[in-house]
Point group: C2
Chain length 180, copies 2
């Protein structure tokens, strides 16, 4: 079974925990065994948010996870990036795992958003998808859906045009339009 | 079956959605049919956070809910209070429903916390439980547990003193009636 790891930094945004659960559920649905590696407060929020572990079964501390991490441990890396510390975590995991990776960049502030996107882009070749998000998780949820759909069908060109809002790109900028 | 309603205002705090799910789960566990009435953004966060509706089956818009609300519709009211608008909602629902009620007051800022507590206290006889909460949901989760435990066992005095942080509750209202 393929393995995915989701990275969560400190949760400033009300959207982070809900989207982390959503992403876990979505990755599980397409056949990944998912581990969420997070800071202590992000972990507590996950636990409160999913008290019966219907969605997230594997949770680990991001620091201890990093200690033992090796290439090959995971097949897919999804990093939630909304702070500088989260950029550092993502970049570090990215270079150790050396596997398919997606940075989900979000912030309520447009400048911060661009700052984090650039920071990830300068240090990795990872896919990046981003949206302004704070209260309203929908723009980011839509981008995430689209990015994860590519994991299933990496060449979405044929009949995939239906929900294709700003589709064709395969790299860095899954955006440019719509939302918030 | 007894019915409970949970009120959610706009989600400023990363703790709100996780705790709303936690509270729903907890109330369901003690025999309530739970409805969550919320603002649109709070509802979207709930949907993303519980995509398969394992925890929250009944969601409604807080304004439309209010339109048709009558005394007797619900047996227990739990209001998440972290903004002035949420105080207003809680007070309004409280006076219409005229039933056992608990305000869960939270904010990262101590002054705001007291402001909201006072606002609720001035306008209702509801029970109030509060904690500073932002990233870390634990203090509020502990208070909520304690308050909800009283729904099951309305006279918790004996060995309950152990986890008593700053216990001495003000208006003992959350009791009187057990869930039968």
């Amino acid at each position: 079974m393929k393995k995915a790891i989701i990275l969560l930094g400190c949760p400033e945004s009300p959207s982070q925990t809900p989207l982390a659960i959503y992403a876990t559920q979505k990755l599980t649905g397409i056949g990944y065994q998912v581990t969420v590696a997070s800071t202590p407060s992000a972990k507590k929020l996950l636990e409160v948010s999913d008290p019966k572990e219907h969605y997230v079964q594997n949770k680990t501390d991001i620091e201890s996870c990093l200690d033992g991490l090796e290439e090959g441990d995971y097949d897919f890396l999804l990093g939630f990036v909304a702070k500088d510390a989260a950029v550092s975590y993502f970049v570090t995991f990215y270079h150790i795992l050396n596997t398919q990776s997606l940075a989900l960049v979000f912030h309520r502030d447009q400048e911060k958003l661009e700052h984090f996107e650039n920071a990830v882009r300068e240090s990795t070749q990872a896919d990046i998808t981003s949206a302004r998000a704070y209260h309203n998780p929908t723009p980011l949820r839509v981008r995430l859906d689209r990015a994860l759909d590519k994991l299933i069908d990496p060449e979405p060109n044929k009949q995939d045009k239906k929900d294709n809002v700003d589709e064709p790109e395969k790299n860095p900028k899954l955006d440019e339009q719509e939302d918030s």
